[in-house]
């Protein structure tokens, strides 16, 4: 019994200090995507809309509507979107307003192509 007590004392406190600090290992947690709007084309946006299994992505005219509430962090959009979609690293997403979970990302990738890039 004493052995475990001393071992515990030596190892220190294991409890997280949240909300004072966020543990550094949480940076790797799965979560919603972030977008490079300059690389996001309409075609890619349509691909993402069809490919998201949770229905979190939808293209509305020149914007990609991301519903953070519906996102499961599966990572399919990362594969489909290639250079346009990356991990956001966000996971503290609680809110009292459901509408605040709907984010809009402008699709600017087409204009670059148009500009001859």
């Amino acid at each position: 019994m004493a052995f475990w007590f001393y071992r515990g004392v030596r190892k220190g406190i294991a409890t997280t200090r949240y909300p004072k600090t966020v543990d550094p290992w949480t940076r790797g947690l799965p979560g919603p995507p972030a977008f490079h709007s300059s690389r996001l084309t309409t075609a890619v946006a349509d691909l993402l809309t069809r490919g998201c299994p949770a229905g979190a992505l939808a293209r509305e005219d020149r914007e990609l509507v991301v519903d953070l509430g519906r996102c499961t962090g599966c990572g399919r959009c990362l594969v489909l979107g290639e250079r346009a979609v990356v991990r956001s690293g966000e996971f503290l997403l609680a809110t009292s307003d459901r509408a605040a979970l709907t984010k809009r990302v402008p699709i600017r990738g087409d204009r670059e192509a148009f500009d001859g890039g």
């Binding site: 909300p19 949770a54 229905g55 997403l93 009292s96």
Partner: protein
């Protein structure tokens, strides 16, 4: 009877009043979890909250099995219609003032769309005070949700932008 009218008034407390009431619970809040048909992974994460690493007791939160003792309902799952009776009975049994947290992507409308078997989202059945996305939300996200509910933390997602190229000229 006069007593029933007063009840109805309390049921219709405005969002502001509820928030202020919840602020009273900031130091000690009793949570009752309700599963309306989830895959139970959200429950695993919720269960971890009581473990030494996350330890929600140090923040003044406690789990209770009895809705009559609860201040806050933590609801998971896509509100399967077969669980309507259960969910509404639990909600009615929880005394005012109370709050509801919808936890997980299922509860917020993802994956399961509304059809003959599920409602799809908890807020189609109950008034929800705080939404916690994630699949499952990590225990830290759950803690953030609880602290937001009692007004001890500010929300972060409102100011969040998913557009990494936002500042650049486009």
């Amino acid at each position: 009877m006069a007593v029933d009218e007063r009840d109805r008034e309390l049921d219709g407390l405005s969002a502001e009043l509820r928030k202020r009431a919840l602020a009273l619970f900031g130091r000690s809040l009793h949570i009752r979890t309700v599963d309306t048909g989830s895959c139970a992974v959200c429950e695993s994460e919720i269960r971890l909250l009581a473990a030494p690493h996350y330890d929600l007791h140090r923040l003044g939160f406690f789990f209770t099995p009895a809705p009559r003792h609860a201040d806050l309902l933590m609801v998971t799952g896509p509100a399967v219609r077969a669980a309507d009776n259960l969910l509404l009975k639990t909600y009615d049994a929880t005394p005012d003032p109370k709050a509801v947290i919808a936890v997980g992507a299922c509860a917020l409308g993802g994956i399961y769309l509304e059809d003959s078997l599920v409602h799809g989202a908890i807020d189609r059945v109950l008034p929800v005070d705080v939404f916690v996305p994630g699949c499952p939300p990590s225990p830290l996200a759950l803690l953030q949700g609880l602290l937001v509910a009692v007004g001890r933390l500010e929300e972060r997602v409102r100011a969040l932008s998913l557009d990494l190229d936002a500042g650049r000229a486009g």
